[in-house]
Amino acid sequence: MPVRCLSRTGLRARLIAALLLIALMPGAFADPGDFQQGAALIAENRFANLEDGVALVAASGDPKARQLLLALQGSDLYLRKSDRTLVIAAKGADGYDLTDPLTGESAGTAASKRELKRIRINNRLRSQLSAAIAGLDLSHQDPAVRLSGVNEMLANLDDDGLKLLRERIQVETDTEVREAMTTAIALGDLDSADPEVRLQSLDVLQGNLHPAVRGAIRRLIETDADPEVLKSAQRVQDSIEFKLELYSLAETLFFGLSLGSVLVLAAIGLAITFGVMGVINMAHGELIMLGAYTTYLVQQLMPGHIGLALLLAIPAAFMVSGAVGILIERGVIRFLYGRPLETLLATFGISLILQQLVRTLISPQNVPVANPDWMSGSWQINSVLSLTMNRMVIIAFCLIVFSALYLVMRKTALGLQVRAVSQNRAMARAMGVRSARVDALTFGLGSGIAGVAGVALSQLTNVGPNLGQTYIIDSFMVVVFGGVGNLWGTLVAGMSLGVVNKILEPWAGAVLAKILVLVFIILFIQKRPRGLFPQKGRAAEG
């Protein structure tokens, strides 16, 4: 066994050389024998030989090398006890499906793991493996794989890797991969003995947000002796810190806006019933809850079509909550106009009944509402900022609902009548507006919007009988803060409360932030009892 006496450095050099060759001319100089030999070394299953085996396989240029190494890394590589051959095992229908790593073909099945013996690896091998796989990745045809390969190398960069990168960047065509490579090389150059080189790479690293860069620069500042380099490094660090802060601010803002959107959605129906009609509807939260439960029911009716069910739930929830709202208005509220405190009590009673109804008819427990695929995942803007899809959808949805409602109020006959009735009931009636019908429809509209908000909330929080209660006080705060009877006020108030809440959260904690916001609103109402955008003039007095 001549291979055994190969020194470690020699082997490494050979590995690098081979990788370079593959990198430059894939497949051209690959030695198929190396792959077989390496695999055989691995099959011996001894730590000492494993290293050499991995090096050989990595350098072989064989297209199956990556699969073999990945299997070893993922602890899926086994020796079959019966014939002591290497197999890759994956859990199959019964027992394990086996693949021969040398041919890539199926090698039958194994009923249980007892027929197999795992090739075990240690930590040193683990880092060797990731470097080797990263190296192989660099020449993979998929740019995404190449990119992750570079990022993998960034994490622990050595001279060999650096050398490889320098070669590889010459032929790299994808800009994103090139950028990552440039970063990696510059990072490697920070260790250069020449201060000039260090300075240059610092320039390259200006504003780079990769975590490895931050660590490297911190180390450089601690250890470097050259004043020029130190100064430059400090500057780069500052620029990175600044960018980081900027992005974290952007993230806070995003979180705040998404929370704000939830608040606006929950409050905007209330803004109509409270603002336009002067009716305190304490059952508003329960109308939201009904919307969420409608989503649940629609999903139950059409299993397997989660996304479609969600879309259908929007009109369905609007109808359900709207109808319940009209019932409440016709059955109770219309007898109580002009007596806001009584309305408050009666609708609170209704809210209790609705809650208990859901508990009795469906379940006192929370019900599961599924999220469609397009709601999960996130949009990775860079290494420090990623925006989750569901939050983005909520913000968009909130804006759509708001605009729709705004158009209804501004452009339709109903909107005109609603505004007329809210400004001067007697006069509107005299002009032939049927105020009773307008009241019922307005209340239905506000309630329907609450139902739609429920659809949105079902995607964010637990759907249970208490869902409404959680949001009712917040919703009132938003409406009161924004100024009663003002849709814009509701939007601005909801969004700003959301953002303020998220800004406070990091240093105050979620609960305390909420308390602070409540206290702030209590104080604010006392300064400006009519909210941010009050209706002015004589009509609003008294």
């Binding site: 009590l345 009666a346 009944i353 208990q356 609103i521």
Partner: protein
């Protein structure tokens, strides 16, 4: 409802007289039936019932406090549960300190939950609560001062009607969130419990329970008479004037804000005392007492009993709570339906409550 102020004054409030007599009879009879009548007699009142009645009486006092501000002053407070709970916490803190080294951890200085949280020192706001007089003072002061500050801020900026209701609700909600936090130092989620004794009397003994029952009855009678005095005074008439025509009252020269402020704070003090008597009888106080639902339930007691009568509030508190105890025992699901239905039916069909119904019957006879 509108005429009761005047008739109440001229007839010297027959309903109130009946109520006071009934209260006196109950207060005398219940201890006798508990202590002197043998256990197997059908007339025997168990200690459990005594405590239950005592609890109802504290609720009745709380209802009187709410009726004072809602019925007579027109402030629909959805946050009176907060004042009740604060009074309760002040008492609870005293009772915690009385446990001494008899807690699970046996720490003579720190209540169990603080030991559990790894605290080594009593927080500053717990000092003094080992003294009964200090705790009693806090029972009155904490709710009173909070109501005063809150009222000073709101009434001065003329927040009225539903706005005021909503921010009183926000107040109690904020307090609930705060008290749920362990860091606040009030036992977090679990609140304060496992009390041992009060002024050296064992809380589990029948005699202490009777004593607490009598104390609750006396507090209710005292609170009722104080409120009666207030609403029959010229200040009471000013309150009604404010309730019905606030700005008119201002134009004849009354400082509306001051009137509201003092009556509101007084009402909060009554609620605090009720809370302080409630806690040793039920043996626990936790942040759930701050929940907005609790506060709004009080309003329903008053609405059902009949507002602006004071004795109606007592009646409502007793009836609704008896119903609650009964229904949650027999069919737990039905309670919220019943409560919700009561809200709707009373506002729609019985705006003057049971007291109004009784009076109409009395007038017809």
């Amino acid at each position: 409802m509108r005429s009761d102020i005047q008739t109440g004054r001229l007839q010297l409030d027959r309903g109130g007289q009946i109520f006071l007599i009934l209260l006196a009879v109950t207060t005398l009879l219940v201890p006798i039936l508990n202590l002197a009548v043998p256990t197997d007699s059908p007339l025997h009142v168990s200690t459990f019932t005594v405590t239950l009645l005592g609890k109802y009486l504290t609720y009745a006092l709380l209802a009187v406090a709410v009726d004072l501000v809602w019925g007579y002053l027109g402030i629909l407070s959805l946050g009176h549960g907060a004042f009740f709970a604060l009074g309760g916490y002040a008492m609870g803190m005293y009772l915690m300190r009385q446990i001494g080294d008899r807690g699970v951890y046996g720490n003579p200085d720190l209540p169990d939950f603080m030991v559990f949280l790894n605290w080594h020192e009593l927080p500053w706001f717990w000092h003094g609560f080992d003294q009964f007089w200090f705790s009693a003072l806090m029972v009155v002061l904490v709710p009173g001062v909070l109501a005063f500050v809150f009222g000073w801020l709101t009434f001065r900026s003329r927040v009225t009607g539903v706005y005021l209701s909503i921010i009183t609700q926000a107040l109690t909600y904020a307090l609930m969130l705060a008290f749920f936090r362990n860091e606040m130092g009030f036992g977090g989620n679990n609140g304060l419990t496992d009390f041992k004794d009060l002024l050296g009397f064992d809380l589990q003994s029948d005699a202490t329970r009777i004593g607490l029952f009598i104390a609750s009855a006396l507090a209710l009678a005292g609170g009722y008479l104080a409120c009666r005095y207030l609403v029959n005074s010229k200040l009471g008439r000013v309150a009604v004037a404010i309730r019905d025509a606030e700005s008119r009252t201002r134009f004849i020269g009354y400082r509306v804000e001051q009137v509201k402020l003092w009556i509101f704070a007084f009402s909060a003090v009554l609620a605090g005392i009720a809370g302080a008597l409630y806690v040793p009888q039920v043996g626990i106080i936790n942040p759930g007492e701050f929940s907005p639902l609790n506060s709004i339930e009080i309003v329903v007691w008053v609405a059902i009993g009949g507002r602006a009568t004071l004795y109606g509030a007592v009646l409502g508190a007793l009836l609704v709570n008896y119903g609650k105890t009964y229904l949650t025992g027999v069919m737990p699901d039905a309670w919220l339906f019943a409560l919700g239905g009561l809200f709707v039916l009373v506002t729609l069909f019985l705006p003057q409550g049971i007291a109004g119904l009784l009076r109409r019957k009395g007038a017809a006879a």
